[in-house]
């Protein structure tokens, strides 16, 4: 038996809390991904032109 019994409110709001948690996690992934793309310094249009040439 756990020391802190989960309040009924937490169970009821589980979907809301899970949704907010996943949204925040997705936001972090997006910021991280954008940072990597931006700092990698690869100009995508130039890279594409090079491939085409």
């Amino acid at each position: 038996m756990s020391l802190r019994k989960s309040h009924e409110l937490h169970q009821r709001r589980f979907s809301r809390n899970l949704g907010v948690g996943l949204t925040l996690a997705a936001f972090i992934v997006i910021i991280f991904g954008l940072t990597i793309v931006k700092v990698s310094g690869t100009d995508f249009s130039l890279a594409t032109q090079e491939v085409q040439n």
């Binding site: 309040h7 409110l9 009821r12 709001r13 979907s15 809301r16 899970l18 949704g19 907010v20 997006i30 991904g33 954008l34 793309v37 690869t42 995508f44 249009s45 594409t48």
Partner: protein
């Protein structure tokens, strides 16, 4: 007073069944409208002559969609009073009592700021500013000002829904040209016949809410003629777009077929009397409305097809 007692009193004040879940907050963003925004913005982004990094492109579409969703939440906040009256909208999160008006306002403002800043950072500030203007136009110009004051509300409000392909294009190129405005014009001219057909068979809704829809202010006969006139102008524009930089043979075939069907539907609507419409429960108006959904989707789909064929030397007229 402890947090527990505050929570307890809140819980008793509001029935548990009425408590909002994550889906109710998501519904504030008008997901169905958002799907149109996503699709048209994606076409604008991919039809642009400048390639975009796939992840940046994904983020651009995501933030344009969030901006569109934010304006939907702000629209629901402002229109909560009339949403309660209309059959079509009374199940929305605010009129159904699941979400407070203030929550919708806060969510709308927060997501507006977030989407504009993130789009600006991910692509360019011209695109960010354009998204900010679109949100302002939809919320302030359309929702707060025009919707309840003029029967041309749908015409002018349609501009807000027509901006996403322009934002997508600007996100890719950082500049402007005629092609994104042709996509804008296509959605802008499509909106009035699409909504007026809906208003013809959902008539009591707008009457009850006191929204000055054309059917109420100028009558149903005038609305039928308006649908025909707008459809003729739309057909000229839609077929003419085939000969621009975003058009091509695939688009031309799609445009000719769809516009012939759309014109035929509008012509039938203009010829019908109210007795005819009542007799078959607005069959022609309903099928015209369904066709209008397919009409926009396939036109933008054809623009996308032309853009995707270009790397293989097939898209466009060259």
């Amino acid at each position: 007073m402890s947090d527990a007692s505050i929570n307890a009193s809140t819980v008793t004040a509001k029935s548990h069944a009425d408590e909002a879940g994550f889906g109710d907050y998501f519904a504030l963003l008008k997901p169905r409208v958002m799907s149109l925004v996503v699709f048209t913005a994606l076409v604008g982004l991919l039809a642009a002559p400048v390639p975009v990094h796939p992840f940046v492109g994904f983020c651009a579409i995501l933030f344009i969609a969030i901006g569109g969703g934010a304006s939907g939440a702000l629209n629901m906040w402002w229109d909560a009073d009339i949403d309660k009256v209309m059959k079509r909208t009374k199940g929305r999160p605010i009129p159904s009592g699941k979400v407070e008006e203030g929550e919708a306002l806060a969510l709308g403002l927060a997501l507006s700021g977030l989407s504009v800043i993130m789009l600006g950072l991910a692509t360019n500030w011209f695109a960010g500013a354009f998204l900010a203007f679109t949100i302002f136009f939809y919320v302030v110009v359309y929702t707060m000002w025009l919707k309840r004051s003029t029967p041309q509300n749908i015409v002018i409000g349609g501009a807000a829904g027509a901006f996403p392909p322009v934002i997508g294009w600007v996100a890719a190129t950082g500049s402007m040209s005629i092609e994104p405005w042709l996509m804008f014009a296509l959605t802008f001219m499509w909106t009035p016949p699409h909504f007026w057909a809906l208003a013809l068979f959902m008539r009591s809704d707008y009457d009850d809410a006191g929204v000055p829809m054309l059917t109420v202010t100028h009558g149903r006969r005038a609305t039928r003629w308006h649908i025909l006139v707008y459809t003729v102008l739309l057909a000229l524009l839609a077929v003419g777009t085939a000969f621009s930089g975003i058009g091509g043979p695939v688009y031309l075939v799609v445009a000719v077929v769809l516009n012939a069907l759309f014109l035929w539907g509008a012509w039938q609507i203009s010829r019908r009397t109210e007795d005819d419409a009542e007799a078959d429960n607005f069959k022609v108006e309903r099928s015209f409305f369904k066709l209008s959904l397919l009409y926009l989707f396939l036109h933008f789909g054809a623009i996308l097809a032309e853009a995707l064929l270009k790397p293989f030397g097939l898209g466009g007229w060259s």
